[in-house]
Amino acid sequence: MEQKKQTYQPRTLETNLPFSWKRLFFQWEWMLLLILIAVLLLGSYVSPYFLNYPSLRDGTMVFLDKALIVFPMAMIMIMRDIDISVGSTVALSSVVMATLYTSAGLPMEVAIIACLATGAICGLINGLLIVKFKELSAVIVTLGTMILYRGIAYIILEDQAAGGFPEWFGFFGWGYVFGIPFLLIVFAALALLFGIVLHKTTFGRKVFAIGNNPTASRFSGIKVDKVKVIVFMLAGLLAAVTAIFLTSRMGSTRPNIATMYELDIIAMAALGGVSTAGGKGRVLGVVIAVFIIGYLQYGLGLINLPSQIFLIIVGALLILSVAIPKLGGMMKRK
């Protein structure tokens, strides 16, 4: 090679970024953290019951159940898709579990496994329909299955409630391990797991790649369809996990549980910085966002504010948190 005339000058590429304060501080997560601190301060200001360990601890149990689904939902949104059937999947898996236990007389352990399987299958169906019929978007597919899954739940349980679970089943929703709610431990574990998967593994990298440019990802040898199906299955599976916790908290189930969960979950992910335009988002931001919304609602609940005020506050928070950085950016450019 040396004997050839080089038609270009050799160049080197830097592999270390110089340290930059700007990069460290201009991050969405700091903003979220500030909001969270503000929420905690506000909470302690308005209610004497808010800022103490037992209260904050038990407060998490109030909102963390649905928050479990936020992780796969974030993945789905990063891939520029959306899944609005998760609430119905929660209901269906819960109903299947309860029916198998009460009517079919199966052991609870088997019913729980069936619940997880149901959720995963629901997710699988979503995923398969989405990749097989690309001309239909994820919105229409999951809109259809949203109605369908809940419909099946109704067909199974009709107007009945099913419950009477064994004593130990209540542990999921109400139990503590070393003084920490079991639900919180599961949430933390899932946050860690999803954080690693999304940010440190090839699978996560592929998810981001698909969100950025699905065609180029396919051309680069990523099995786009497979990744999509897996992520939708994960959403179904986590919906089933939520079903277990929710059912445990309610001690019984009905086909109409978990209605409108999808919107709450999407709001959490969006506040956490996951963009539905695809390709962006971090698990840390999502986790903070979950606690912001959760503690805000909890804190406002402790001073017994009407729930419609809460609707308005969460709506305004969502808009402000997304709009302020944009407005700031607009100012700077001018």
């Binding site: 038609t7 160049r11 080197t12 950025n212 990802s217 051309f219 680069s220 990523i222």
Partner: protein
Amino acid sequence: MTNEFVLEMKGISKAFPGVKALNDMQFQLKKGEIHALMGENGAGKSTFIKIITGVHQPTEGEMLLVGEKVSFQNPKQAQQHGIAAIYQHVTSYPDLSVTENIFMNHEIRHQVWKTLNWREMHKQARQLLRELGSSLDPKAQMNTLSVAQQQIVEIAKAISTKAKIIIMDEPTAALTARESEELYRITEKLRDEGTSIIFISHRFEDMYRLASRVTVLRDSNYIGTWDVEDISNEKLIVAMVGREINQIFPDKKTSAGETVLEVKNLCKLGEFEDISFSIKSGEILGMTGLVGAGRTEVCQAIFGITAFDKGEILLSGRSIRNKNPQAAMNNGIGYLAEDRLDQGLLVDWSIEKNITLANLSDLSSFTWIHRDKEKRQAKEFGEKVHIKATSIFDSVNSLSGGNQQKVAVAKLLTKELKVILLDEPTKGVDIGAKAAIYEIVQQLAEAGYAVLFVSSEMPEILGMSDRILVLKEGRIAADFVNRGITQEMILEAAMGEEQVQEKSG
């Protein structure tokens, strides 16, 4: 005050956050002239154009239109002043019809009702297209057209505004020689009717054929303006690249080994038929033909992106069937996509992550990505193809076209491959970068790769290939050994009525 210049740009500068894209640019356009604008990738040509058309506003400088000072806040104002542009990246509306694409935002309306006059618009669209020598249906939806056809629609759109100044940013990048010829004819006709034309191209043949004057930019700076007759090829290259390039095409050292890839009777309904060829290791097989001849389709079928109906692909004598790109890559076949922005790269990502995307499995254990390994590999391959950037963390969309293409090539090299399919690897790439890419391709061949080199540009096909395949309407029209072959022979095969079957022996 009469004015010799229809358009005059004085001291134009433009800064994007972090980039000075244009610095003290001077430009003068006469009435009825074709003025070429040349420079390396990223020199600032497209930015300059966008300033003229009001898409961007200059940070400094002034703009005179027929002697009068103007400043455009948006493209509509430029349009109203008789400036039309065909942008580098085709800016069509894929979901709308040809007519609508042509007349968008200057629709024809009924005199009385002020409603859109579809009948008239279709009629005029058909007329415009016919003048351009095309019989496209004005009602056809844009995304059913090929790139060349879309280009024609873009030209029709520019003409339909009855513009006095038409700017063409690399209109020939997606065209073959034959279609370029058609475009030259149209351009000259427009010039003769008194329109002034700014023409950007990386092809020297375009400039020599069309332009009377040429302005050169380098690294955002204005270098100079010359009459085309007065400047030699070498001087022009020095002006553009800032140094001499003695040899564009590397020396060929054919040392073909065993047959690596063999394609037998490949057929796909409506796309291609009866495609058979083979490539030996160390060999570069050129593939050319008119746009739409189906070259991309053949490559993508081999690479497993689309399925084919009939036929067989043999790799080192073993029959393979690639269900998806990953299978193809595992079998040792790589593909450099024609459309790098849409199919090749993740433009929002850093160079580093783009390079390693296809090779993550080798950089990870139990799917955990080793960042150090990844960075090392990105650096290694990035430097191997000489990407012009400061760090591997630069985002790809901050790079010029040529450097983007190099990133795509670097990505391809990370995998251990036997065959690489290069689909228009130099499309829209400047002369310096082209030479670099040619050299990389030659090195690959020497390293034992079997290379399929798809291109519409005759000089590079002739300059690079050991053998040349010519495709016509999805069939192989000719298969030449590249010895004493001329452009005319290839063109004849690509367009001729009877099939030239000159089997190489």
